[in-house]
């Protein structure tokens, strides 16, 4: 059990590509931190630097308060689970799990006890004599997790461990890893490109883009208070709608776009005062676009007629898409409503849950 701290960590590869840029981050003891971002954002590189598999170009990494920049992976007391399992194909499941313990010269009885315990937790007791090639993908990943937990390390590292599994198994393993976290109560760092995995597993989420940490926060804070357009668009599915428009002041202050026009609510007015007659991005999550006749109150915008472009019934809800000359927008609604392509509906926005971003920098304004 340990904390992990990164101080201005930078990674520059030999070909001058900057994979991670001045990342600073504190992961507390027993925290489940998820590094999330699109592919190529540097999240795996960051994890590999924490593991000691990748050299740190600049900055400092501390595990349990000690600088580990020059400590080889084997002495960092960490365990790692890889996307492609990375089992030792020439060893049985038992030996795969026992390998790290044998290298550390633990007594035989203890090795056996720890492996059996892990096999019990992960339901792989029946396969201990098999070689990895005789196992399914899900079983292999359990062995890989088992190999990590028998070591009882200070920190667990997961590098997209579920990406190679099919959708159903992925959900199941997600729950199991969550359960494992509650049971082991150890620091875990988990890398994924899947924002659903990030939201459901992490107690702390680190969003990365182009090697730069964008925001570090709890799942719900990240969802409700994104610091910029990238984080807002990355977390949540279907993604937040971004509507390009302009602020105009003719008596009252209004947001005007191709499809929408509404009065900007009092609380945010102040923050947008520099943007009069300038273009600005409005962000609205699909669940905050609502049918006009289903709600009433002054937190909603004036009803607006809109033509339905595409209907996606999911079963428990329906996604409706409409579009302007540039892009698509999405709203989600309960499944009772039945609409067809081309229908005109009246929608309102929940103005207490809208966001404004600078259209050039992407920074959140309000």
């Amino acid at each position: 059990m340990a904390s992990v701290e990164l101080k201005n960590v930078t990674k520059v590869y030999d070909n001058q590509v900057v994979a991670v840029k001045e990342a600073s981050l504190e992961i507390k003891d027993r925290e489940f931190a998820v590094l999330v971002g699109p592919s190529g954002c540097g999240k795996s590189t960051l994890l590999r630097m924490i593991a000691g598999l990748e050299e740190i170009s600049e900055g400092e990494i501390l595990i349990d308060g000690k600088t580990v920049n020059d400590v080889p992976p084997k002495n960092r007391d960490i365990a790692m689970v890889f996307q492609n399992y990375a089992l030792y194909p020439h060893m049985t499941v038992f030996d795969n799990m026992a390998f790290g313990l044998k290298l550390r010269h633990l007594p035989k009885t203890e090795i056996k006890q720890r492996v059996m315990e892990a096999a019990e937790i992960l339901h792989i007791k029946d396969y201990l004599d098999r070689k990895p090639k005789a196992l399914s993908g899900g079983q292999r990943q359990r062995v890989a997790v088992g190999r990590a937990i028998v070591r009882k390390p200070k920190v667990f590292l997961f590098d997209e461990p579920l990406s190679n599994l099919d959708a159903k198994l992925r959900v199941q393993m997600r729950i199991e890893i969550n359960r494992l976290y509650n049971r082991l109560n150890t620091t875990m760092i988990y890398v994924t490109h899947d924002q659903v995995e990030a939201m459901t597993m992490g107690t702390k989420i680190v969003v990365l883009k182009d090697g730069v940490i964008q925001q570090v926060d709890s799942p719900l804070n990240l969802y409700n208070n994104p610091v910029n357009q990238f984080v807002a668009g990355f977390m949540g599915s279907p993604a937040m709608n971004f509507i390009c428009g302009e602020i105009q002041q003719n008596g009252d202050v209004q947001f005007i776009s191709e499809l929408l026009k509404f009065e900007i609510p009092e609380p945010v007015l102040n923050k947008l005062k520099d943007y009069n007659r300038k273009s600005i991005l409005l962000g609205v999550r699909p669940e905050n676009v609502l049918l006009a006749n289903s709600v009433s109150g002054d937190i909603y915008s004036v009803p607006q007629k809109i033509a339905v472009d595409v209907v996606e019934p999911i079963g428990n809800e329906i996604f409706l898409y409409f579009r302007d000359s540039k892009q698509n927008y999405c709203m989600r609604m309960p499944p009772e409503h039945i609409y067809a392509c081309g229908d005109t509906i009246e929608v309102v926005l929940n103005l207490s849950k809208i966001y404004f971003f600078d259209s050039e920098t992407g920074y959140r304004l309000a």
């Binding site: 598999l53 890889f82 194909p89 550390r104």
Partner: protein, 270 residues
């Protein structure tokens, strides 16, 4: 019909390859006079295994065999040890001049042996290693090594980096990871490479001819060459020797071919 054509073509190729070997075997069973018979015939009136006995009296083949075994085995071990360390570094690290190094090794394979024999000869003579096993082993190893490194480099690259990473995290040093995880996984490749190195040395004639001069160090290919005398060509004994000494490589190949056909690294990753 297409299949029939293919079988016919393959049979022709096989016949072409096997014909000299069959003729060699046939000749080894004949008497010396019969080998000069015109026109040559497959079935001679008198056929025996006498040549196989006589060859050992004509030339010291027990000594040659020992020399061949020593040279080929030592060359195999030496090239495999150096080759696997080099291939490991080449497949796992990025360093300046890596591609140039690989290229130069490849280019070295394009030099004909006769163009480098004189420097080799001088080097070995100056090191006082002329007519010694050590001298021949060093030269054979030098000649085999580039190809061995290339072969092993290819095999190591097929082993996923993550398996090695896992070993490093599990508690291995770089070298432990090489010996405990990478090499066992590269076993089929090592086997294939070992056979290549062994046969390369076992069959090598030219360097062995130039760098050795006494019965104690000459190898089998050189020994077989000595049958071609000034006045007398003992074709039947020469063939008998050739048949006999093609057997070890053949047996070796049959023994290990199963290991390297079997994909040992199946199951490491998805």
């Amino acid at each position: 019909m297409k299949k029939f054509g293919l079988i016919l073509l393959m049979s022709l190729v096989a016949f072409g390859v096997l014909l000299p070997i069959l003729w060699m075997f046939d000749t080894s069973l004949k008497t010396m006079i019969e080998t000069a018979h015109l026109p040559p015939r497959w079935i001679a009136p008198e056929m025996s295994l006498q040549a196989y006995v006589d060859m050992f009296n004509f030339l010291p083949f027990a000594r040659y065999t020992l020399s061949s075994l020593i040279t080929a085995s030592a060359t195999t071990v030496l090239t495999l040890v150096i080759g696997s360390l080099a291939a490991f570094a080449l497949s796992r690290f990025v360093f300046r001049g890596k591609h140039l190094f690989l290229l130069v090794m490849l280019l070295s394979q394009m030099l004909p042996g006769s163009s480098i024999i004189i420097p080799f000869f001088e080097l070995i003579r100056d090191l006082r290693l002329f007519d010694t096993h050590v001298g021949l082993i060093l030269v054979h190893s030098a000649v085999q090594l580039p190809f061995v490194i290339w072969l092993l480099y290819g095999f190591f690259r097929t082993i996923p980096q993550e398996v090695e990473d896992a070993a490093l995290i599990d508690g291995c040093s770089r070298l432990e990871a090489l010996f405990r995880v990478l090499l066992p996984l590269a076993l089929p490749g090592l086997g294939a490479t070992a056979i290549f190195a062994f046969l390369g040395s076992w069959n090598e004639f030219f360097f062995a001819l130039i760098l050795t001069s006494s019965d104690a160090t000459q190898t089998i290919p050189v020994g077989i060459g000595l049958f071609v005398g000034e006045y007398l060509d003992v074709w039947n004994q020469m063939s008998a020797a050739a048949v006999l000494f093609s057997l070890p490589p053949l047996v070796l190949f049959l023994l290990v071919q199963r290991t390297f056909i079997k994909g040992l690294s199946a199951g490491a990753i998805k």
